[in-house]
């Protein structure tokens, strides 16, 4: 599987040399969604927390950029991105402290509800642009002391920024999962009660995982807003939360590369199904075949696409010979 992954990343790295502008933008968007999905997998696949409201943090990252962007000038990425991460992390801390008091189905419902709360807040709030959303007229500027390492307005540059983020997030999460902390959350997923009996203050670790996942989602949301220069309450919406959860589950829970596959598969499927040239009048109803695909995938592919390649138990701590 590793070989395939490296080959895939290699292909992605080389794509801008041959790719069309449209697909360059699409792939960049998919890579950001993959980062969003990986952050959710940290919760779902590795800590055992099924969140249906992860879009809350995606949206917060996006809206923070919007609020920090002056009307016709660029915000500095070196200032605004850390702020976005900070805001998202604090929000995750507060929301997590409340929702982590529940578990199982309650947790699913409650995470959804909090994301909805933000959604309605965004719709009602004039400062945030209401239901029409708001524009970011100038993309964040990467200038540092006169030197501009990359220009987010340039499609190729943006693509590589997204790719670097993808690789970086994957590497970060792999490292974290190998760490002392990582082994703890894997233990929590495997047998939470025993972890408590062994002496671990389980709540603290779940909260830390929740905050980390939220912060990463915030970065993805920030860049997504930067990519198209637009934010709307839909960023907080349950469709966004549902869609990223689908990517994780269909791609393969608890694998980290599964969500990447899921992001590509679902977005490309959506792109294909809504293509007017292929489906003529029916293309507007692309959600129907998409829904059918999801239903059939659950019935026939219980481990997701990533699960097809991965035999044996899911998400276990590394052993000495990994």
């Amino acid at each position: 599987m590793r070989v395939l992954l490296i080959a895939g990343l290699g292909a992605l790295a080389l794509y801008p040399l041959v790719g069309s502008a449209f697909y360059l933008q699409l792939f960049a968007k998919i890579m950001l969604l993959a980062v969003f999905a990986m952050s959710l997998d940290l919760l779902v696949g590795f800590t055992g927390l099924v969140s249906l409201g992860h879009a809350a943090f995606f949206g917060l990252g996006a809206y923070t950029l919007m609020l920090l962007s002056p009307e016709y000038q660029a915000a500095s990425i070196w200032l605004s991105l850390p702020v976005a991460v900070g805001v998202t992390a604090v929000a995750a801390l507060v929301i997590g402290a409340l929702v982590l008091r529940t578990s199982g189905v309650y947790f699913i419902m409650v995470t959804l509800a909090f994301a909805q709360m933000l959604y309605y807040f965004a719709i009602k709030s004039k400062a945030l642009g209401g239901s029409d959303g708001a524009y970011i007229y100038v993309k964040p500027d990467a200038a540092l002391l006169g030197w501009r390492p990359f220009d987010l307005g340039n499609r190729v540059h943006f693509y590589y920024v997204a790719l670097v983020l993808l690789i970086g997030t994957y590497a970060l999460l792999r490292t974290v999962l190998r760490s002392l902390f990582g082994h703890v959350i894997l233990g929590i997923r495997a047998n939470e009660r025993r972890m408590g009996a062994l002496g671990y203050p389980v709540f603290r670790y779940k909260l830390a995982a929740f905050v980390l996942a939220g912060a990463i989602a915030g970065v993805a949301g920030y860049l997504e807003a930067a990519q198209f220069g637009y934010v709307s309450p839909e960023f907080f919406g349950w469709q966004e939360s549902g869609s990223v959860l689908m990517m994780v589950i269909l791609g393969g829970v608890g694998t980290l590369f599964g969500p990447i596959l899921g992001a590509f598969a679902l977005t490309l499927l959506q792109d294909f199904l809504s293509d007017e040239a292929v489906f003529h009048g029916f293309h507007k109803h692309w959600l129907l075949p998409m829904g059918l695909f999801i239903v059939l995938a659950v019935l026939w592919l219980p481990r997701g696409i990533g699960g097809l390649a991965l035999r044996g138990p899911r998400a276990v701590p590394e052993t000495a010979d990994d």
Partner: protein, 289 residues
């Protein structure tokens, strides 16, 4: 005295909304409490009811007739879905249930779009009930809303009766606690599940039908009520009808008064209430932890 009547109107509205919510939320909590299935598409049944009412009205011209025809139709669709899909979810984990029912929402939304379009529709209040009770010179309260509340209360009473007083109800309560035991007693648990599921669908569809003249019929109506129903279930406790009843009334009143007293944060009051309950009772008011 006008203030008193305004207050009364808000209370009546809150109770009416709450009772309607109860119909939907009770189905959700029953299906989860007894079969262990989380059904995200539950709101779609509400939508289905409303659209059925609209379509049948075009045929028969009478809301009550439409409801009379629509309920069996809804139950039939529900049983078909149970046989096709939900039956396979009983043994699956929550993740799979969430995913499959999410896909089902998408399918049902698009089928609705194909069959009935994306327009917003209104349904006329039945002529017999299309009048208001005069309270003051300027204030009046629509009788239809009172009838809605009445119907919901009647259904709630019927539910309580069935669950507490009948053998079926006893079986349902037993099945919720101990599936294997019930099967050992020779009772067909599959039949019980089908009946509970059908009841859930019927309740949600009925709610959609009677609400249609007041709340109109529009795409996305299912998802809105689903999420609020989730909040009700969290507050009331999964599997508890009592909890769903109390939770629904609480939410109904909170939302109504919230709209009136603080419209800027109107939608948010419901979630703040949920957060407050979570801090105090993470398993809901009547939930078993």
């Amino acid at each position: 005295m006008a203030d008193g009547y305004t207050f009364l109107i808000q209370i009546l509205n809150g109770v009416q909304y709450g009772l309607l919510l109860f119909l939907v939320a009770s189905g959700l909590t029953l299906v989860f409490g007894i079969m262990g299935v989380i059904n995200l598409a539950h709101g779609s049944f509400y939508m289905m009811g409303a659209y059925l009412a609209f379509s049948l009205m075009e045929l028969v011209g009478n809301l009550w007739l439409a409801i009379l025809l629509g309920i069996p139709l809804s139950i039939a669709i529900g049983l078909a879905l149970e046989a096709l899909l939900f039956r396979r979810l009983y043994r699956r984990d929550h993740l799979d249930q969430v995913l499959l029912t999410y896909g089902l929402i998408l399918i049902m939304e698009e089928v609705r779009s194909l069959l009935a379009g994306d327009d917003v529709h209104g349904i006329e209040v039945p002529k017999l009930l299309d009048f208001s009770i005069r309270l003051t010179d300027t204030l009046a309260y629509p009788v239809y809303r009172l009838v809605m509340s009445g119907i919901c209360l009647g259904v709630a009473a019927l539910m309580a009766l069935v669950i507490q007083r009948t053998r079926l109800g006893m079986t349902i309560r037993a099945g919720a606690d101990n599936r294997e035991m019930v099967q050992l007693l020779g009772i067909d648990i599959g039949l019980v599940y089908r009946m509970v599921f059908a009841a859930g669908v019927a309740l949600a569809a009925l709610a959609g039908m009677i609400a249609a003249p007041v709340a109109s019929v529009y795409p996305g109506m299912g998802n809105q009520i689903l999420i609020i129903s989730f909040v009700v279930v969290v507050i009331g406790g999964i599997g508890s009808i009592k909890g769903a009843f109390l939770g629904s009334l609480l939410i109904g009143l909170a939302d109504t008064f919230g709209q009136v007293l603080a419209p800027e944060i109107a939608g948010v009051t419901v979630y703040m209430l949920m957060a407050a309950v979570l801090l105090w009772r993470p398993a809901g008011l009547f939930g078993r932890a």
